[in-house]
Symmetry: C2
Subunit: 87 residues, 2 copies
């Protein structure tokens, strides 16, 4: 299936969240990830994030699509994926 | 068409970005919005955001889907849409 994931986590956990998500998905920009993922890997991804996040502070939103990719993706402004987080 | 929008804008422009996006889409949480939107309104939304954002600092990502909604949406952690921004 195809997944779009957006997280909003506390600063202390951002690095780890990024690392986990990158194992399974492609990083689009900042806190946005996407990609094809198997059901088994989606379960793993969710488990790893569950272990990490603080339920009182953080949130993760997961859109799942059967197999259909989006028909368009447009980025306005700065293309952040290539810069900030790599520093 | 169906749209998922995620923005990452400087603090000074967050309030205005929220206001613009809310005119056209449903607020899911924090910087994530979604909804059915006409082509004409999508053009308007994009123009308003273009006027607002700082191209060196901000970014907006727009996923567009022909008419097919996502098959699943899951929120892990805090459901932020109902609280933070209303203060």
């Amino acid at each position: 299936m195809f997944v779009i994931l957006v997280y909003d986590v506390g600063e202390k956990r951002v690095g780890k969240a990024l690392k986990i998500c990158r194992k399974y998905l492609h990083w689009v920009q900042n806190s946005v990830f996407e990609g094809e993922i198997s059901k088994a890997n989606l379960v793993k991804l969710k488990k790893e994030l569950e272990m990490l996040i603080d339920n009182d502070e953080d949130s993760v939103i997961l859109y799942t699509f059967r197999s259909q990719k989006y028909t368009g993706r447009e980025i306005m402004g700065k293309e952040k994926a290539t810069t900030d987080f790599l520093i």
